[in-house]
Point group: C2
Chain length 423, copies 2
């Protein structure tokens, strides 16, 4: 079954328009959370869906809800992802899922026209606030508040590196409110950001579980000194200690990855103080994360990381302080949802397989409170968080088809039955 | 011979006043070049010397000249150092030398009162612009222009990380002009910033030569990617490559240092792009320097650094680009000046020894154009570029005494004879 021409055209046209907001010369976008570019994208999206008679509302932390009324008074099937991006990020990450959700909702609504009573739920398309976590930490902020994992107050008082709070930033782009709603199930589609679908020749991935991830903020403390005049024996160089930690993290990925289990380690943020040409650094803050599918492998790699931290404190003569940590255990997505997604993909004749996600997504939060289905479409060469991120039109359209099929099934009561509405 | 009480008191009082400009809570100062704090310190110094009937002028790159007329129309004996500091730097580095120069000039002028014709030279106390090189690169900017090693135009158009040019910054603090003058000899006193004087129980170091230093700006290029989703085999991580380079630089210091020759290596500035928590870095800029007393050891260590750079390009799958470089060969100070300084220290009964400087100073530039004497006073525990930098009152006062003795000798024609004045 292929997508009708007018629907293909409409989706791809909207995708191109959306990609112009915050666009970079390298073909990507830069739309960090609650910046002007993020605000412009949100306003464009609002205009798009209001043109289809959908209603837009914001909650207290800037999550953007597009309401599609199909069964007045009933709870909602949510379809979501995020419009914010990394600095110099790709145009598909997150944004594809939000736009796919809007088009799926349009098509489900059209399909239900004249079938009064068929819909047992309403649809809400959600653009979650600050999934990326680059300007404001942590990532997945909006869905974390929605699912009760973070308090709204804590989020609203979080500051960016220039001291601007989330509250101020959201007010400055005018996308904050006090809306809330009941959600019965959650759907999300996203680019894979890895190369397994491409390598296996598949167009759809059904996410069966998250990886486990241990994320740490470390502060390496040294002693500020002169880079020329201070002899090596007198140095306590925070930059050397932090560099050893980056090297150790990579060693651990190589050491613990086997044919059965992969371990991935990364340092994504690394800031040196005072960072002057002739000064030995007194402090480096850095983030280190360790991810694996297997809990026992993750635990062993994590123990090795902490052993190496102690070793570096000795060898580089620095102190390493462990700050905030975020630990996510590997966790399965809803089994009935996975089965329903497989049946739907088969009905549409799509080549699919099951995958696990190493990256965090808003569905990682949502799956803990409602039945959740997470879908992937391929990323060319696995490239992501990069201006060269790419997914073909055919793969994007196949994803919208599957999302539409699943949304249609959920709205009519497959997977979950509506509970009595709580006003 | 000990300093008379009123002169001790006057110097120490002025030193305390000076240290209040740009003072930090940790007991240091933060007066980066041409910032408001640097401007305030310059204005305070101007007021101080004008109170002694000296005249203050600025040249085209903001070098501050305090003119003390002793032999009208004759060239100048210059005594200089710098009032700018590192971020969260110490209160002695540079500033001690400028204030010591002003007090030496006052005492020489007093000593010559009533001895018409004794002075063959005038004195100028110089506060060189931007010796530190943290806000604007390279370091020793003002003395480099004065000695013809950099062009004024190149310096004036240099920008800080926020895009402000040197010209704009100097205009904003109002310390720029068009003055110039003839200098016949140069004197500088500075804290040692190492621990050799303290270890040897000396109060004065006579600097016999600089170390050789090879300074490189490297840019490590990787490929921006997702820290979770991108498998290790697909990564080209600029942060990993740069960290390997920091570790390699330290290895080289350890490998090439012998009982006879010390090698010092450092990375003082290290900046990661885009520096987001979940993004594999696409670029790191870093400065690496290698210093040694011995030219052949320095050459060998340098060759090893470049071999390691090539090795890291392979092992970390990154590209390493070599940008600007600054190469200073180890070079001796004026032998006659060293002898004169030793004789003067002996006359004052000071415990002195010869030392070599690993750090760059404005005298490093000046020694290439005129006979130059460079003196060190001890740094407690060798600590410098640090708020805890410390030199005792006694050591500071002994330094002022020796500087006064030398300035008096130079002004009356020892070391250099005045050439006919060129108008």
């Amino acid at each position: 079954m292929s997508t009708p021409t007018h629907q293909r055209h409409s989706f791809l046209t909207d995708f191109r328009s959306m990609s112009s907001f915050g666009s970079t010369t390298g073909g990507g976008v830069d739309r960090q959370a609650a910046t002007a570019a993020d605000g412009q994208t949100r306003n464009w999206f609002r205009g798009l869906v209001e043109g289809h008679d959908f209603t837009v509302r914001y909650d207290q932390v800037g999550n953007q809800f597009t309401l599609v009324e199909l069964a007045p008074g009933a709870p909602y099937i949510a379809i979501g992802s995020h419009l914010d991006s990394q600095p110099f990020g790709g145009r598909f990450d997150g944004a594809y899922g939000v736009l796919a959700g809007a088009h799926a909702a349009m098509r489900v609504k059209e399909g239900l026209a004249g079938r009064d009573g068929a819909a047992l739920f309403n649809i809400v398309v959600v653009n979650w606030f600050n999934e990326e976590g680059c300007r404001f930490k942590p990532s997945m902020m909006g869905s974390s508040v929605f699912t009760g994992k973070l308090s709204a107050e804590q989020v609203l008082t979080t500051t960016d590196p220039r001291g601007v709070t989330v509250r101020e930033a959201l007010e400055s782009i005018g996308t904050i409110g006090d809306f809330s709603l009941d959600v019965a199930a959650y759907l999300e589609i996203h680019i894979e950001q890895g190369r397994s679908l491409e390598d296996d020749g598949l167009s759809i991935g059904l996410v069966e579980s998250t990886w486990g991830a241990n994320k740490y903020e470390f502060v390496v403390h040294g002693e500020q000194a002169h880079t020329g005049a201070t002899v090596i024996a007198d140095r306590s160089d925070a930059l050397l200690g932090a560099s050893c930690l980056v090297v150790a993290a990579r060693d651990i990925a190589n050491q613990f990855t086997t044919d059965d289990h992969m371990v991935i380690t990364s340092c994504g943020e690394f800031t040196v103080f005072p960072n002057s040409p002739v000064v030995v650094a007194n402090r480096v803050t850095l983030l280190v994360d360790v991810r694996s599918t297997d809990p026992s492998v993750l635990a062993a790699a994590d123990a090795e990381l902490h052993r190496r931290v102690n070793e570096i404190e000795e060898s580089a003569r620095v102190k390493i302080e462990r700050g905030a940590e975020h630990i996510w255990a590997a966790k399965a997505y809803d089994a009935a949802g996975l089965k329903l997604a497989a049946a739907s993909a088969e009905r549409l004749g799509l080549q699919y397989g099951t995958v696990r996600t190493r990256a965090g997504h808003d569905s990682t939060n949502m799956k803990d409170i409602v039945p959740t289905i997470m879908l992937f479409v391929p990323s060319a060469d696995g490239i992501s968080h990069n201006e060269r991120e790419f997914t073909s039109d055919e793969d994007m359209l196949a994803g919208v088809d599957l999302l539409t099929e699943l949304a249609g099934r959920l709205v009519t009561g497959e997977l979950v039955r509506p509970e009595p509405f709580r006003p």
